[in-house]
Amino acid sequence: MNEVLRIRGLSHDWGAKPALRDISFTLERGRFTALLGPNGAGKSTLISVLTGLIRPAPGVVTVMGHDMSRHARLALARMGVVFQQPTLDLDLSLRANLRLFAALHGLSRRAADRRIDEVLEILDIGARAEEKLRAMNGGHRRRMELARALIPAPELLVLDEPTVGLDAAARAAITAHAHRLAQAGTAVFWATHLADEIAPEDDVILLDRGRLRANGQATELAGDTPLAEWFLRETGGAPCPA
């Protein structure tokens, strides 16, 4: 099965304020798809729906064929999520944090340690496994969040503006990691308002004021125009600082 995520006719309101309107798209294995949109476009709401934190009305979300509204546990078991906010405990070591998360996914201690070592190797952070997160800088903490999301070996990796607050080098490192994961076969869904995080061959879903404005490969959508310029033209916004 190449299709990892399918969203059909998804809408959501916050009280009287519409947040998402009739969103439909699919994601495929091995693709890096950027959910591009200005602040307030509805990206976080879409990710909250995708991860089962809020229930859409109406709309259908299926992950690896599992309907999120009826089989959320099966869907969530195939998914890794990096939220905008930090989720790890700063007073615990990276390994302790990852063990807790592995237990939430039902991994035994032995299986968890094996998977933790694999993930730390993939992200090249094995040397810092026993360090407390409080001792790490913002960039490293974000990589640890990515490590946490990879513990269940997800087929779909969802990242909600994972580079917020990071310097250019840390942003580049996280973006490169996510692209490598897509090349290795994971479907990566990357929410951002920064067009420079998107490579020409990546897929782009443009979200603006709760509506899906465009969906396709970055080069096809923008043509010869730089993607950042195309993004501003499409959304009518002011340039975002990189």
């Binding site: 007073d91 237990a103 939430l104």
Partner: protein, 264 residues
């Protein structure tokens, strides 16, 4: 239903994390102990002379005021522990840690129940540390009393933790939490049998005595009091179980996905 092994691993991890966090916050542990100890050493000493206590069940003889307020202080520790957990949950929801929990592939009711059990375990650790100090101070009970009090304390901890869980679902911002102190903790504690028997309250104000009788905290105190003396108070048990069910149902309602808000 999740696989049993999965559920047990997740439960153990959530409880262990709570204990670890509690152990790392020494200030929280000390303040949790100082509060009831001040009541026991200072307040009780002052009121011993002023308050005359007749023989009331479960006591077989005249008792000191310190002995009378011991169960109430145990419940007070659990009340503050439940509210502290509630505060942590509001903080976790604001900083994102709660999202991590709620997106685990486990039913939401199970995750909330696991958080509740974890909160109860840390509350029980504080109560038994307090009971050890009270024992050293001279308020000694039988070993059977301590053992029989454990299920009563656990049930009271779950009920008060469920109240905290329910409040955390309804409080949207950390700043609003100060109101909980004024509108929940103090009325619950003072409008109960923790510090004075209900007949004393009845003499002063029948209306306040009636309010005390419907306060679930009163019944938690009485459940603990009777259990510490090897006795069983069925009415108190019924009230505490009922309150636990109502508060936990309220928490489930509050954390239902259709009621949640995204961050942006």
């Amino acid at each position: 239903m999740p696989r049993l092994s999965h559920a047990l691993r997740a439960l153990a991890a959530i409880v262990w994390r709570e204990i670890l966090r509690f152990a790392l916050q020494r200030g929280r542990f000390l303040s949790a102990l100082v509060r009831p100890l001040v009541w026991l050493f200072v307040f009780a000493a002052g009121f011993r002379a002023a308050l005359g206590l007749s023989i009331i069940p479960p006591y077989q003889t005249y008792i000191t005021y310190e002995t009378y307020i011991l169960p109430g202080l145990c419940a007070m520790i659990l009340l503050f522990s439940g509210m502290q957990s509630s505060l942590s949950l509001v903080h976790e929801r604001e900083n994102g840690a709660m999202r991590l929990m709620l997106t685990a592939p486990l039913p939401r009711w199970f995750l909330l129940a696991a958080k509740l059990i974890a909160s109860a375990v840390t509350g029980l650790l504080q109560v038994f540390a307090f009971l050890v100090i009270a024992w050293a101070y001279g308020i000694k009970l039988t070993l059977t009393g301590y053992l029989l009090a454990l299920p009563a304390l656990a049930l009271a901890a779950l009920m008060l933790g469920a109240l905290g869980l329910f409040l955390s679902a309804t409080i949207r911002q950390l700043e609003n939490f100060a109101g909980v102190m004024n509108f929940v903790i103090f009325p619950m504690f003072f409008l109960s049998s923790a510090l004075y028997p209900l007949w004393k309250m009845q003499e002063s104000s029948p209306l306040l005595a009636d309010i005390c009788r419907v306060n679930p905290f009163t019944h938690a105190v009485e459940l603990i009091r009777f259990a510490l003396y090897g006795q069983f108070n069925a009415a108190a048990l019924g009230w505490v179980v009922l309150a636990l069910i109502v508060f936990f149902a309220g928490a489930l309602w509050g954390y239902e996905p259709t009621r949640s808000r995204a961050s942006g």
